[in-house]
Structures are given as C-alpha cells and as structure tokens.
C-alpha cells in the first residue's frame, strides 16, 4: 500500500525562500502569455469542429486517437525531462535558473493556458493541426514537470560512493547514463510516468472538448464522444464511452505500467529483498515467453553492446575533458539577448494590461474570489468524506484488499470526461452549473486526498495503535492524539495536488456550452472563457495572469508552509 504515497506525490517542493529568481520567472511566464495573446489576435473568427459519430463502432478509432495524443505528449515530456534534468543537475549556473522556473511552472494551472494556446496556434497553423498540437502541448505541460523533478532529484541523490566508483572505474558518460543514472532513476521515473498519465487524461479530455463561441476546437476522441453523447442525452452512448475509457485505462495499467513496475523492482537501491515485490501477470507471461527471451538475447543485448562500443570508441578517442571552462561568450550573449527580449516583452505586456479598464480588474478580482471559494468548498467536502473513509480502509487490510482495485478503477476515470454527464444530470436544478462545477472539482480532487489518507492510515505503526489503546484513548481523543497528526503529512501532500486540480477544473467548469446553450457562473474560469469568446485580449491576458499568480501565491504562502510543517513535525520516521 505504500505505493500510493509515491504515486500521488507532487514534485517535491524545494525548500527555499522566494527570491528574485521567482520574480523573473513570473515575468517570463507573463511575457509568454502575452506573446500567445498577441498571436491569438490573428485567430480566425470561426472554427468548424469535427463531426462526432456516436456509433459504438467508432469508439476504437476515437480511443486510438486519444491514446495517440497522450503517447505523443508523453514521449515529448520524457525527452524534455531527461535533457532539462540533466542540464540542471550538471551545471550549477543553469540549475539556479532552471529549478525556480520548473518550480513555478509546476504550480501554474495549466488549463488557464488552454484558450491562449488554442487561439495562438490556430492563428499560425492550419486548423486541424492547430487543435491537435495545442492538445499535445497542453498534455505535455501537465506531464513534464513531475517527471523532470523526479529525474533531477534522482540525479542529485545518487549516492556519493556510486558516483565515485563510476569515476574511478572511468565509466564514460554513456555507460554512466546506462548503468548508473537511468537505473537509479528508473523506479521514480516509472511511478511519475503513471502519475503523468493519470493527470494527462484529465487535460486531454478538457483539450479535446474545448469550444468557445463560434470557435469549435474539438478533436475527435473519447472525450468528445462522451461530450457529444451527454449533449444529445444519449445514455447508451455515455455508457459505451465510459466503458471504453475505463477499458483503455485498465488495459494500459495491466499491459504497460504493472509490468514495468514488476520489472523495475530490480532497480531499487535497498540491499534487502522486498517483502511484497510488485507483481504482474503480464510481465510473468512475457518473462517466461521464448519469443521475448530470444528477442532479448538476439536483439536487445547486442544492441546495448553495440551502443556501448560506439560510445566507448568515441570516449577513448577523446582526451579527458579539461577543467570546466568559464561561461563561453556565446552563452553570455544568448543570455543577454534573452534578458533584453524579456524586458521588452514585459514592457509590452504591461502596456496591454494598462488597456484593461477598471471594471475588468474588478471582474477579475471578484472572479478569483469566487473560484477561490469554490475550490475551498470542494477541498473541504473532499476532506470531510475521505478522511473517515480513508482511515477505515487504511487501517483494515481486509477491507483494503477488495476495495482498493475498485477505488482505483473509479479514480482512474478523468473527471473532465464525466463533466458532460454531470451537466446532463444537474444543469436543470437551481444553481445547476455551480453544482456541476463543484462536482467536477470534487471528482477531480478527492481521489488524491483519499489515496494519501489510505496510505497515511496504513502507515501508522502498530505499536502506537496499541499504546493508544492501552492508554484508553478513545473516540475524539484517539483521533486527536494519534490519527490526525499521523495523517497530516499525507493530507497535505494530497491537498497540494488536489488544490492544483481544482483550480484547473474551474476553466472547464465555469463556462459551458451545453445542449446548444451557454451557461456561465461567477469565477475566474468564466472570465477567461468570456474574454476568449469576445476577443477581449487585454482581459484574457490580465485574467490568465491573475489566475496564475493567485495559484502560485496560494501554493507558496499556504501549501508550502503546511508541507514544511508536516515534514518537520509530523513525519514518522
């Protein structure tokens, strides 16, 4: 069960105060959004969406499209992560810029970029390509950061002796990568990949179904199928769609992630055999198959040897590198140019922000406040039910063994996929959209908290439980002295992820077009959507920027502190 705690842990916050670096990063993000908004001005006024067929026969094709987008984004994320992490871990100077940048990027609500990215891409690219690329970029931004953190952290925590051993035995960079760095990071990379995929579905569904006014950015895929089905009130199609989605996710889990986990057990550093190593029937089947054995011996091994030999020839031919030279002139020039561009961009962005009337700012402020409230309520509800249920599951192994798979499957369905269904159910009730938005936030967030609570409850040492029983602590006393303090770090960890998810959900949830009608409620997500629809670019910039800043600040001022408190005071070691 401890695997849950690893699965749903966000990128580890760096233990560092805010610095001027953060300010630079925030300005850079602002300039980036500005550049997007500038491009977006040229976006075509109307975009026609695809025809979506509700026939079940179309589902395999849609599923393949969706998985394809995810895979493309994942490959992109992996390449990006390896390069970025390597650079940050091996150059101190680069690290000082790259890590704060990553730190801000991972707390930015990604969906807030969606309108800007879609509009700007459609301004410069052909229609079909623009939406496809935008969805891939969006999923990429949801998958890359935690992978990068995992890789960077692995690189920087490789035990000193192993590094020194590789140095004294003169492993070249390739051998070091293949035999030290990649194996050392493998487990963490695989867990984080699973987490990236789980998160990616959420954004894929949102990206596939985005429509604003005359611009229909939808893409053929599972998300659109579900949306269309809900739109037409076709319950049968909804069932088909949800079923297919669950099937795809379960298949990926069984055929890709479980086998990878079982395989990666060999890469753990601990020098003891694990008591419950991860297992996978599919891995066992592959492992025992002759064909795979032949493939390993005849293709993979020679390939590895070939690569080793290739890099060996190159490294032996080269003289050992001289002492690390200072920053080359080219880098300084590039840095300077980038700085100037940043300054100019900031100036132009400020100019555009000035064009926002006072009423616009008031609307943004009210919107941020409303969304903040909604996020808080969603989190409170999530906590209220997950803590007792999670403790019940976590402290009862029998219950856990049969509830866990069910909970996992239910949790694996991305909330954004179900959103149209919620709309169908509650939109007609009073305060319908508010309720639907709350439901979306809740379904998007509660699982993170639940899994962490389960992990926390099952990690409470047995002897402490005995002690509290012996001390006759019961009811509230027992909760206050044992359970709540023990859960605290886990709840905070889950809360950080959940809060991020809830903010993201606001973009999709607060402004919807459903059944041919536009529904909107008060919130920053609605403000962004409306600005997109009306082509009010200064407002779009201001609203997006405000949301990013708010979330970054909430993270820094609230979650970071709680996290530090949890790490220092309540972590059981």
């Amino acid at each position: 069960m401890p695997r849950f705690s690893r699965l749903f842990r966000p990128g580890q916050p760096l233990q560092r105060p805010m610095t001027w670096g953060d300010a630079v990063v925030v300005v850079a993000v602002a300039v980036l959004i500005y550049a997007g908004v500038r491009l977006a001005i040229g976006a075509p006024p109307a975009v026609a969406g695809p025809e979506i067929s509700l026939a079940p026969q179309a589902l395999p094709r849609y599923a393949a499209f969706s998985v394809g987008r995810m895979a493309a984004a994942y490959v992109l994320s992996l390449i990006f992560s390896l390069a970025y992490g390597y650079l940050a871990a091996s150059h101190r100077r680069a690290e000082q810029v790259l890590m704060p940048l990553l730190d801000v990027l991972q707390s930015v609500p990604i969906l807030s970029f969606l309108p800007v990215v879609l509009l700007s891409f459609s301004a410069i690219l052909p229609q079909g390509v623009a939406a496809e690329l935008a969805s891939i970029v969006l999923i990429f931004t949801s998958q890359a950061w935690n992978l990068t953190f995992a890789w960077y952290q692995s690189l920087t925590t490789i035990p000193r002796e192993l590094r020194e051993a590789s140095a004294t035995f003169r492993l070249n960079p390739w051998l070091r990568f293949r035999h030290l760095e990649l194996p050392f990071a493998a487990i963490s990379l695989i867990w984080n990949s699973m987490m990236s995929w789980a998160g990616g579905w959420f954004f894929l569904m949102a990206a596939e179904t985005f429509t604003v006014g005359e611009r229909d950015f939808r893409l053929p895929g599972l998300g659109t199928y579900l949306q269309e089905a809900a739109n037409r009130g076709n319950v049968q199609a909804i069932a088909w769609g949800v079923g297919t989605l669950i099937l795809v996710i379960v298949l990926l889990d069984q055929l890709v992630w479980r086998p990878l986990l079982a395989w990666s057990d060999r890469f753990k550093l601990e020098m003891v055999e694990s008591e419950n190593p991860p297992t996978s029937w599919f891995y066992d089947a592959l492992h025992n198959s002759r064909l795979v054995g032949w493939f390993t011996e005849a293709v993979l091994k020679p390939l590895g040897e070939g690569m080793d030999a290739l890099f060996l020839r190159r490294s032996l031919a080269q003289k050992p590198p001289a002492e690390e030279a200072g920053l080359s002139k080219a880098w300084i020039l590039a840095g300077g140019a980038l700085g100037l561009a940043l300054l100019y961009g900031a100036y132009r962005a400020a100019g555009m922000l000035l064009a926002v009337p006072l009423a616009g700012w008031v609307a943004i402020l009210v919107g941020v406040g409303a969304t903040f409230l909604r996020v808080t309520v969603a989190l409170a509800i999530a906590l209220a039910w997950t803590v007792p249920v999670g403790v019940a599951i976590g402290s009862n192994p029998r219950l856990a063994t049969w509830l866990q798979p069910i909970v996992q499957v239910v949790a694996s369905v991305p909330a954004t996929a179900l959103f149209p269904v919620f709309l169908l159910l509650v939109l007609r009730l009073p305060g319908g959209l508010d309720l639907a938005a709350l439901l979306l936030m809740l379904t998007g967030t509660q699982w993170y908290v639940l899994f962490n609570v389960i992990a926390g409850a099952s990690a409470i040492p047995q002897d402490l439980k005995y002690t509290t029983s012996l001390l006759q602590l019961r009811g509230w006393q027992r909760w206050r002295t044992l359970i709540l303090p023990a859960l605290f770090p886990y709840v905070v960890t889950g809360g950080i992820t959940a809060s991020g998810g809830a903010w993201n959900a606001s973009i999709v949830a607060e402004h919807v077009e459903f059944g041919g009608q536009v529904h909107a409620t008060l919130g920053i997500g609605a403000t962004i959507a409306q600005a997109t629809m009306q082509g009010d670019y200064p407002l779009l910039l201001a609203a997006t920027l405000s949301m990013v800043l708010t979330v970054v600040l909430v993270n820094r001022l609230l979650w970071r502190r709680l996290y530090r408190l949890a790490e220092e005071r309540y972590r059981m070691e």
Partner: protein, 439 residues
C-alpha cells in the same frame, strides 16, 4: 632519494573549504610518500581528513594547495592506475556480481569474451564462484565486499586504495576478508604494487600495514608515522603486537594537556574553539564506572576497547570527553580516573547531573552560550541564531552537530532547555543567576 623513485608523493597538500566568510581546513600541509611494495594505512579519528586525502590521492578531488605526483608526474584528473574499494561497497544493485566486475573492464574497452573470462577468474580467486549471476542484495556483507575487491583488482591497479573496507562488515567476515587480502598481497598473487588503506581501527592497522600514518583532526594533519616491522601472519596476542597497538593508542590519545590548552577558547575569541566530541552521556558514565572498578582506577586504552566492546574511534572520543571534563587523565596510552571522575562514577543520578553541570560550565563554549542567553530577552535565543554564530567557528554541518551536542549536554545538566516547536534555546531559571534554586 630522487622524487621519481616513489610510486606516489604528496607535497604540501592542503584542502580548504570556504563556508560563508570563513575558511575551514580539512587537510593541512600533508607530505607523504608511498613506495612500491608497501602496505600503508592512514589512521585517525573521524573528521581527520583521511578520506579526503584518499580522494585527493586517487584524483577524485583536487587539493586546494600542493601537488600530487604519481611516478614523478603530476596527477591530473582521476588516476588511471588506482582503484578503490569502498566502505559501503558501492556496487550497482541492479547488476549481477559478474556484471559488476565486468563493467570496470568494459569501461576500459576490454572486448566482451575477454572481459567475462577475466571477471570469472577474479571472482574465482576471491572465492565467489557459483555466485556470478547473483545480485548484490542476495549476498552477505562480506561477500559483497569480495565483489568490491574483485572489481578493483579486475583493472589491475598499481595502487589499490581501500576506504575503511572492513568497517561495514560483521566481526567474523571482516576478519576472514582481512586474512584473504593479506594472503593475496603477501604471496604476490595480484599485480598490485602498493596498497593504501584508510581506517580508524587501530588493531586492524597494526595487523595489516607495513607503515601506519597517524592523523589527527582540527586541522586534519599527519602527527606521526610508525613502521610496523612484524612479519606476516601477525599474532594478535604476541607481546610485540600488543606493544605496537599500545604505541598507536598513546600517539592518538596524546597526553592530557594543561587546562587552558585542553579547554580551548570561546567562540569569537582569537584561537581555536574546541569542538565537543559527539558522545552520549550514558556511554561516558559507563566508561567511568568501568574504570572505577579497575585496580588503581587505571587501564590500558587498547585493553579497554576490548573489554568494553567499542571500536577505538568511539573509545578515543569518550576519553577525550573524560579528559575535557577533568574526569580522567591520559598519558602514554593509559587512562586514569581522577578523584572527581571516581566521585561521578559512584554518585546518584541527581548528584551526577550536578557534577556534570559544574564541569561543563567551565567549558568556554558553555560559558559563551550562557552569557549570550543571560543577555538575551527572556533568556532565550533561537536555535538558528546560535547556530549561525557557531558557523563562524565550524563548518555548517559541524556547527549544527556541535549545537546538538551542546544542547544535549546542557539538557542533561539541567542548564539549558530547548523547545522544539518554537526552536528556542532557554536558560533554565536557576541557571540565570548562576545559583541552583532549592528543589
């Protein structure tokens, strides 16, 4: 003797770290030579820079000053003729025993078939045949270290460096492995020209080395070189062997100095602030009680290590504290309880605390901290503030450890208290005026 006759030569090697405004010396002005056919150990307490020196010698680290010559040539980068056996084995857990040895050969471009044959041969020589396809985690500590040795020997190094290779092993495997290494070495069955071993275990050094280079800390430096002229295999119970162990103890334990020298100065004053050895007070009491039962309240340090079943490094730290607090004196490898120490050993728990309190109040670092706290509002200071001022005297990690020790001792003596939630160090009320309040 011409310089190029030495296999390895260190000339005025120093290693200095910068931490904030201050410089800390890890290794100071070390001159050392190593010749072919020699087995030399670097011996010293933890923190004396012996591991740093090993890293400088193998080229993993560049000294801030001085030169490292290998066969008369200045060393640049990692020394290709050296291999290291690590304390924690440093095996790749995801590679099999065979692959762990092979990778060292692979990195040198040895073709696959030759590589496997050579690795198998070495595993055979260290007695690991049959375990080629095992993973390190399936092996015992002793067998893991054998893989470490096989890997190091696979590259046929001229200089074999051992970084406390036996200290992570249980007593029996360590002893067996020592014997096996000596056998390979003395019978010339490995192409190694010289062995350099870092250790803090005095008996191990005397058992194995031709020459013992004794180091001391603050700053890390060489204080003596002793030649061990005993033939192999050495008899641990022989009088010559025990004499040698006694001599090394005497060198390392030094002699109790006159009080001002022993105590050092307070932080901020010119001169060296004495670092408190990190020990548990219970262990100190155990040592004193044991001594109180000895005839004449005295004991040979090396016998004491055996009787108390502690390693020499730990024992030396305990004796250092006993000296520092005036509970014992050390001379020529013998430790003698002072009357005060005897009183402490026989006192009740509360009386012990009082004796301890009066003794640590004399330590400059405690005087300094108590004065700081008296001057502070509400007689309390943040942990961070005190640590920051200690950082002017010690490197950051050491400053943290020093403060932990200070607070631990101060809490035991009921002079200081510490509140974890506010991270504040307090002066106990009765310590404010310097008079103990009636209980």
């Amino acid at each position: 003797m011409a310089a190029n006759r030495h296999l390895l030569e260190l000339q005025h090697v120093s290693q200095v770290y910068r931490s904030g405004p201050r410089l800390f010396t890890a290794v100071e002005d070390v001159n050392l030579t190593l010749d072919e056919g020699e087995f030399v150990t670097l011996l010293g307490p933890s923190g004396c820079g012996k591991s740093t020196l090993l890293r400088i010698i193998t080229g993993l680290q560049r000294p801030s000053e001085g030169r490292v010559l290998y066969r008369g040539e200045p060393l640049s980068g990692v020394n290709p003729h050296a291999a290291i056996v690590f304390q924690t084995f440093a095996l790749f857990p995801w590679l099999t025993v065979l692959e762990n040895v092979e990778i060292a050969l692979k990195a040198r471009g040895v073709p696959p078939n030759l590589r496997t044959a050579r690795a198998l041969d070495l595993l055979d020589r260290v007695g690991l045949d049959g375990f080629e396809s095992a993973y390190p985690r399936e092996l015992s500590g002793g067998m893991r270290q054998k893989v470490g040795f096989a890997r190091a020997m696979a590259v046929e190094p001229e200089l074999l460096c051992l970084d406390e290779p036996f200290s992570a092993l249980d007593v029996l495997s360590a002893e067996a492995l020592r014997g096996e290494l000596l056998e390979l070495w003395t019978e010339g069955r490995i192409p190694t020209q010289a062995i350099l071993m870092v250790t803090h275990n005095i008996e191990e050094a005397v058992y194995m080395a031709d020459r013992i280079v004794v180091m001391d800390k603050e700053p890390g430096r060489i204080i003596a070189e002793l030649r061990v002229g005993l033939p192999h295999p050495r008899q641990r119970k022989s009088s010559q062997f025990l004499d040698m162990v006694d001599r090394v103890y005497a060198t390392l334990a030094g002699q109790t100095q006159p009080e001002p020298l022993e105590l050092g100065v307070a932080p901020g004053e010119p001169g060296q602030t004495r670092a408190l050895p990190h020990i548990a007070i219970g262990d100190l009491a155990g040592l004193l009680e044991h001594l109180a039962e000895m005839p004449g309240n005295r004991a040979d340090l090396y016998r004491l290590a055996e009787a108390l079943k502690v390693d020499s490094d730990h024992l030396l730290r305990l004796t250092e504290v006993a000296e520092l607090l005036g509970f014992a004196t050390v001379a020529e490898g013998d430790i003698t309880l002072t009357p005060l120490g005897e009183t402490f050993a026989e006192a009740s728990i509360l009386a012990r605390k009082e004796i301890f309190a009066t003794r640590i109040r004399r330590l400059p670092v405690f005087r300094w901290l108590i004065n700081l706290l008296r001057a502070a509002s509400q007689h309390r200071l943040e942990w961070e503030v005190v640590r920051a001022s200690l950082e002017l005297e010690f490197p950051p990690e050491e400053a943290e450890r020093q403060l932990e020790t200070i607070v631990q001792w101060g809490r035991y003596a009921e002079i200081l208290s510490y509140d974890d939630s506010s991270e504040m160090i307090y002066l106990e009320p009765h310590a404010v005026s310097g008079v103990k309040a009636p209980a």
